[in-house]
Symmetry: D2
Subunit: 360 residues, 4 copies
């Protein structure tokens, strides 16, 4: 398969797989996370973040974000998110399900990013019992459109949030890509900038399954273990979720994976951005390229076997790079796109755009 | 108190109160709705709607709409509503709570009304598992901005909804005002136009407490009695919820009440619409007048004791008329507004608008 | 109808009805509880309980108890209740619905009463993440079988509960009957004995609709208003829920009503207890009599038009007295039962007991 | 570690691990289950069950059982289970959370097994709106106490369930052990005996993570994919959940693993059952041995490093055998237990039993 469909189309990186296999060699281990592998990973994450945070592992991003948000607000409260936020657009109501009804209040902002002024306007707009009080802000880093919040931007949002009694949640499905791209420390990017809880994505960075939920504000984690258990997110053979993280964390594999994916996205944007009729929609700051492609050329590429999704919310196509995306694949895609565009320029354009599956 | 704050500031109309008192005279009655008063009212409603519908009584509009919608879709499905719909803006997440997470998908449309084309676009936009499938459309009649759907408009929406496997719910908090204004039969306005379930509001029409949930598509009501019970909406002394409906239904008091409120709204719009600087925002088709009032004049009126709310979602002020709003009150309000506007014209305008409570 | 079916078969007592009618005379009032009637009743309840408690009104007992319990624990925690508790047996899963899954952990105990030793055993039995931690104890006063906790018993339960970090909730659907029977002050019966939140039932004491939720531990009430709103329990025309309480509270009508019902139950127990073959199952300390009646005699009475329920959980028949139960009704029931028993003794006993509806 | 703590203390069996590694070799694969590995496993399971069933993969047993039950009943309905059922005792309210409140109604029965007569009594006990109507029966095969339902017993339960409009769910966390022990076909054990949905456990049989939910009654699975997604149970890199099943299914590894574990349990029961003072509590029909051990001897074993849990619900100790439990481990445990018992017989017994962690 040749694709820029999603970073979750990629497999497990060798280091993570090796750690998983090693974790199996130790024979029997205590279940439900009270094992030595899980303890080591938690300690490693605490070292990485340079603080005594609370770490939990859950199975996927839907659960990580939904459970984290549910721990930040009650059903009659609300969460402020960007209108393009994954929790709003692609979780089939997961956050509302886990929280038993907390509304997501959407805000706009350029480049897929929340704006502190807009957040403040939302929070102060109403103060009556008929409207659920915002108790959390969630921001996605890197964003759903492949852009990044600077540390200062995160801090500004946190400042507004905390001033109004809200917690700050970071959806870090692609946190590694953000840290790699911004070249800041994980601590600076999160708790030092006011983030209270981070969902640190591992799957898109090279794990088989599993995300870490990291509470910097420890009081918020008081009952989280029970919440995880009740919601069906507690792995019995936890070591197989946690140990692969060691593979990522040792020797900064997670950053290497992310840097590679980011570099491939930049390369891809550079190559296809130069093709006539192609418009890069957002600065490719992480591992995604959003581009408007000529309709006929996009269709041709798909007929040639390339897999990628249209981004329904904002138009255009989304091209994701993974930890294992090869430069040759980028080059081949760009070349085929260029050829298709050139061929298309010689003929009449197609009237009807193809219907494509949604991004995932 | 002199106010145009809300039709739920009004009390109980004499006929409803009389029925309540009468219901008490019969001594002991079977509890939980298996009493003769409740049976009579249900039969009366079936006669009114000219069909063998299923009727339930619940305590208020939040519950009526939320429970009805919860019976139309599962937690992983969604409901299409107007962005100004009360269920979206003023229920503190009630619908999501009762349904355990069904998302409300908002649509736009002029005059506070849903548009069939926009609905179809929303339904067909995505068809993947990451997005909750729309299973119901809810429309408010009369709308939150005091406008009305024609029977044809309701039918067009129902047609789209049913074609895509969605049920049609009508939030009829002010159903009486709509029927009175359009001079159509309740049946024509609802099931004959494709409405599957109606929340028929009584409180704003002159009852002390209680709304009727009317299922025209009876299969949808199969377990509704259990749902009502579990959700804390089953009155033990049900006759005191149901009997006052007899007071409304006998001699068409409900229509008389609604016609009066509608007439007062028209009168009010006429009177204040003629005042310089006042802009009527929506055609006053039911019992509400939305108007932009000069800031200083609005403040003066409030200082004079008038109570009315600003409409945060769309700006301006909302002036509601009730079954008992007196023509003299309308005249006095218009006169005082006119005086305030005239006085304001003679001096410099105030710089800062007053902060007012939200509409309810 | 002649019945001992339920105290919610009775109507509204004259004083409550008068207050409701008076509340209507004041014309327009602010909605959602910010009216003068509601404020007066809240102040009256604070005076009655001799403390600055937080008071909320909801529509019925299902909601009062379920919302109160939901405010005491999260979905992954649990509530300890008696196995005969109404919240366990007769709410169709209401508490679990409102709390989104908090388990009710049932305990046994004689006379329908929780035992502090059994509570402690339940709490300390497990301490692992696979079992929901008990965070509340709920006791019903008067109990579901018509018995009473003494103040000392309530205090002993509270002591165990608080020692283990649990809150104490009292289901007071028949709180008036308990206070009247024990001749203690409402304060002594509740917060001075450690009760954190009381659901003070009005309906069974003579109101048309509505219960009060009284938080003695005010911190627990922090967000309760939002909870009430979201769950569809906020009355818009609140005065019609609250004002009738004034009718009950003025001149201690609530106690007079309760004393009368209690006296009728004692009289009933005395009269039928003397009939051969009748066994009084529990001491009739409040307004209920539970009795094993000869099967044929019970059937005869029902054929004669008497309405009363069997108590499925514990066997026997439940005979409830209300604020308006007449001594003559008691006398007539006893006489007819005696006659039926005597007639039955002269013939062969029926083989098959009739199937009767459940208690409600 | 030497233990009989739980079959989830064991690691991944070689065949499953090999399949996982192989699945990674194929490079990019479509996410969310639309990959070739997942399709192959689903087809294999359909072949195994000899019917066109619907197959879904979720992350763990809590989710498998809770989601399956939630798809069988609404929040206002109930599920009948044994009082020792894992869903009742060890899921921290998971089923109630996923269903938003469906009550678990517990039944008793010898050997940890439900009895059709008792089920029928529960279903027909009440038929009123205050009690949630049972809509599903769940039985655990093998049971929580290591016993087995015969095919005839399953059929008898299914017959009662279906006669009363209930679906039949089988918690098959140790389904493999049951099939291996009874030497019946998976089809005979499930749908041919009336089971509508099976949660087929893989983790305890040698997988790293992941359970299969198998709907034999396909109409019940209509929306299950959405339910899985919303509840955070849809793996993006699904192949790593599904492919290891191939390792189990190829060459009947799953049965070999289960037969081995069962044989070890029988051996263990035989060996320790012969020791004076040890009582085997239930026939060791699957891979568990429940035994009352002399208190001092149990403590000595634990001091020696043996790990095993007490079974709080029924008393005694639970000794679980896994796919990799070595006969030597069994022999050593039995020998050490015997030695400890003999030593204990020579001295005075300890007065106070040690407090041990709960079973998991």
């Amino acid at each position: 398969m040749q694709d820029f469909a999603s970073d979750n189309y990629a497999g497990v990186c060798p280091e993570a797989l090796r750690a998983l296999v090693e974790a199996n060699a130790s024979g029997h281990e205590v279940a439900y996370g009270d094992d030595s592998w899980t303890r080591r990973v938690c300690d490693r994450l605490r070292a990485l973040f340079e603080t005594d945070c609370e770490v939990f592992f859950v199975f996927n991003g839907t659960a990580a974000n939904s459970l984290a948000l549910a721990s930040l607000c009650q059903s009659y409260q609300s969460v402020i998110c960007h209108e393009l936020a994954h929790v709003e657009t692609d979780e089939c109501g997961g956050p509302e399900f886990f929280s038993n009804g907390s509304k997501l209040i959407t805000s706009r902002g350029p480049l897929g990013k929340l704006d502190p002024v807009a957040i403040e306007a939302l929070v102060t707009r109403r103060n009556d019992i008929h409207s659920p009080r915002p108790k959390a802000v969630t921001l996605t880093q890197a964003t759903e459109v492949g852009t990044l919040y600077t540390v200062e931007e995160v801090r500004a949002i946190s400042e507004v949030a905390h001033r109004h009694g809200m917690s700050v949640h970071m959806d870090g499905a692609r946190f590694a890509n953000a840290v790699a791209a911004l070249a800041v420390s994980p601590a600076d990017m999160t708790w030092r900038a006011g983030v209270d809880v981070l969902c640190f994505g591992g799957t898109k960075n090279g794990l088989p399954v599993g995300e870490a939920v990291v509470f910097f504000k420890k009081s918020l984690a008081a009952d989280f273990a029970y919440r995880v258990k009740q919601a069906g997110q507690l792995a019995s053979k936890m070591r197989f979720i946690s140990a692969p993280w060691l593979g990522l964390l040792d020797d900064d594999v997670w950053l290497r994976n992310a840097r590679h994916a980011n570099a491939m996205a930049r390369l891809l944007a550079e190559r296809i951005g130069a093709i006539p009729g192609v418009r890069i929609m957002f600065p490719p700051q992480a591992n995604a390229v959003f581009a408007e492609l000529p309709v006929d050329a996009a269709r041709t590429l798909r007929q040639n076997g390339w897999v990628f999704y249209d981004f329904i919310a904002a138009g255009g196509s989304r091209l994701m790079c993974a930890w294992d995306t090869a430069p040759e694949t980028v080059a081949r895609f760009a070349a085929e796109l260029n050829a298709a565009v050139m061929a298309g320029r010689a003929v009449a354009p197609a009237a009807v755009p193809p219907i494509e599956p949604t991004a995932a």
